[in-house]
Amino acid sequence: MDFSLPPEVEAFRAEVRAFLAEHVTDEVIERAHATGTMHDWGLHRQMAAEGWLSAGWPAEFGGQGRSPLEMNALTEEMYLSGAPVDGLGVASLVAHTLLIDGTDWQKRTVIPRILSGEVMCCLGYSEPDAGSDVAACATRAVRDGDEWVINGQKMFTTLAHEAHYVFLLTRTNPDVAKHEGLTMFLVPMDTPGIEITPVHTMGGERTNITFYTDVRVDDRHRVGEVDGGWKVMMTALVFERNSAWYGECVRLLDTAVAWATSARDADGRRLIDDPLVRERLARAAVGNEVANLLGWRAAWMAAEGQLPGVEGTMAKLFTTEHYQQAADDLIDILGPEGLRRHGEPGAAADGWVEATYRHCQVTTIYGGTSEVCRGIIAERGLGLPRSRSSR
């Protein structure tokens, strides 16, 4: 066994770290925090210019052919830097899915523009009545000659207000089993009939509801077969970056440790010297390492040519549940002063623990809820009989 990363991965990591140290300025972080939009066009295009949007892509797409280990290092460094990179994640997921399930035209016209940082995508899966049960999708697409006419509504269309395309799951056949009548489209956001309503969340992030009224798209925007949308969904799921939150966990702990080291109690003792504080910080540190290892295991398996389906799910489940537990413990150690929000004078830890406590709650929902993750691990990992209550 060898837990060290190959020199070329460490070298790449150092390069990325140096870049991020320069470009992920406090201003970038503050702007994302203030707007709730976890995407920064400036940073995004600088990263594209470095070739890192396409770092994991083959040379024929202008990529650098980076390995899964290098890509994991890149993701980890981005999150460790605090960069707002939700947009990059979605763009990458859509591009990868197009590479597998897209048409030649899509590969030729859309992928290069995503990888160059020119265009941004958003995901249109969830609906008011289709959350974890995403196949319950009711947004209708009806064929009309070479076009499709789309009507419906999508929830949580994060980044819709910045995106050029929505990766849209629709129902094209209501008369078959629910997984078998779905079709995926990549719809330009400037198509008439699309409306965006902002949705503000407890964590400060902005998301959107998107409405689709008689939206007409050419059939060339269809991704995959007619009624083959579920297969495309499954492809896309593989590219969810499940260990991304490890970097956020580290930022949280670093913030809390720095605070506890400088803050003193009424008797002049450093807070970090209180056994009850030390115990919780240590527990958070252990969880962070477990999260880190579960994430790297999945990346390593991918590098070995294996499909880390269950293992990636474990990394996602563990990391996000641990993140919430740690935020809960660490805001407690701040005491009353931990209540002040970021930007308030004198806020403990500059209010970042408070912000994290609100933000982290959503991480067990998107990219597969903890309940869905547990079901996958139980059935696919442990081979337990399919639960009668989950599907």
Binding site: M155, M202, D328, I333, L334, E337, A347, V362
Partner: protein, 336 residues
């Protein structure tokens, strides 16, 4: 033994609940953010005589607890627990009280001339502060001039400068200033515990309603065993919390032997139960739980904030240990 509300208390509960449903609806609670104060709600409670009802011996803490629980359930944007406790403390100092004036107390002694993060401090006309071993009544000047820092619970907290504004020394009739402040703080713990039970049960109700209505995979998600078991544990914890809060209030009203321990136990346990209930309910809402327009995020933020405004919950438990097991022996030299 009688674990039911009296007829009068039931009537009080219903009156207050009706009032809050009308005047402190979720829309109004949301509209009162970020400050967390609604003058109309305060006026209504003042008209009912709630702030001083237990100050003159006319009502008990148990009666105030009935109001506090409804206030927690509706997240009523008023520092009613603080006012009730402070008015009792002032009465014990032979200081006149009234229902109109918003009053509060600093939970922790002032340090460096400042009482930090006083609940209700951003909207109170009078603040009782323990400073240098004395009880001070501070009138910090117009509320507009006070800094009300944005905070997790959208509560009207403020740092009170006890060197500015008018202030006067309070003299408790019996007991020291420190003892009387400790007494008020235990009353605050017990009543806030009750407030947290109200919040926790309202959060649980939101969760239960949601999972009964919300369908996924062709069935209500409330029929999923993992959902059911989680809610059953929370309902049990909240029933226990309600009993513990009720007993804490009763020990204070009757000066029963548990008066030294139950308020701290209730505050600790009810806070944990409420926080767990709000968190679970939020998560059972899926993505909707995080949307500002859904109510459960209001409960979620306030549950944690109401615990934390006093102290790190672990520190509270260690403080409780002092009451249960006696103080730490200091004779032997250095520790770890």
């Amino acid at each position: 033994m009688d674990l039911a509300l009296s007829g009068e208390q039931e009537a009080l509960r219903d009156t207050v609940a009706r009032f809050f449903s009308k005047v402190a609806s979720a829309e109004r609670v949301r509209a009162a953010e970020p400050l967390g104060f609604d003058a109309a709600v305060w006026r209504g409670l003042a008209d009912m005589g709630v702030p001083t009802m237990a100050a003159d011996g006319g009502a008990t803490l148990a009666d105030v607890s009935v109001v506090a629980r409804e206030a927690g359930a509706h997240l009523a944007p008023v520092p009613i627990v603080e006012a009730a406790v402070t008015n009792r403390l002032l009465t014990r100092c032979a200081h006149a009280v009234d229902d109109t004036t918003v009053r509060t107390l600093a939970l922790r002694p002032a340090t460096g001339g400042r009482a930090a993060l006083v609940p209700g401090g951003a909207v109170a006309a009078e603040v009782v502060v323990l400073g240098g071993g004395d009880l001070l009544l501070v009138r910090p000047g117009p509320t507009g001039e006070r800094r009300a820092p944005a905070n997790l619970g959208s509560a009207p907290l403020a740092d009170i400068d006890i060197t500015a504004g008018r202030r006067s020394l309070l003299t408790p009739a019996d007991g020291s200033a420190v003892d009387e402040h400790a007494r008020a703080l235990d009353e605050w713990r017990a009543l806030t515990a009750s407030w947290l039970v109200g919040l926790g049960r309202a959060a649980l109700d939101l969760g239960v309603s949601y999972v009964k209505d919300r369908r996924q995979f062709g069935v209500p998600i409330g029929s999923f065993q993992a959902v059911q078991h989680r809610l059953a544990d929370l309902a049990t914890a909240l029933d226990g919390a309600a009993l513990l809060a009720d007993k804490a209030v009763w020990t204070l009203d009757t000066d029963a032997p548990g008066a030294a321990t139950f308020p701290a136990m209730a505050f600790s346990y009810c806070g944990e139960a409420a926080q767990r209930a709000a968190a679970a309910s939020l998560h059972l809402h899926g993505g909707y739980g995080f949307m500002e327009e859904y109510d459960i995020q209001l409960h979620f933020r306030r549950a944690k904030a109401a615990r934390l405004v006093l102290a790190d919950p672990c520190r509270e438990l260690v403080g409780l240990a002092d009451r249960l097991f006696g103080p730490v022996e200091t004779s032997t030299g250095a520790g770890r």
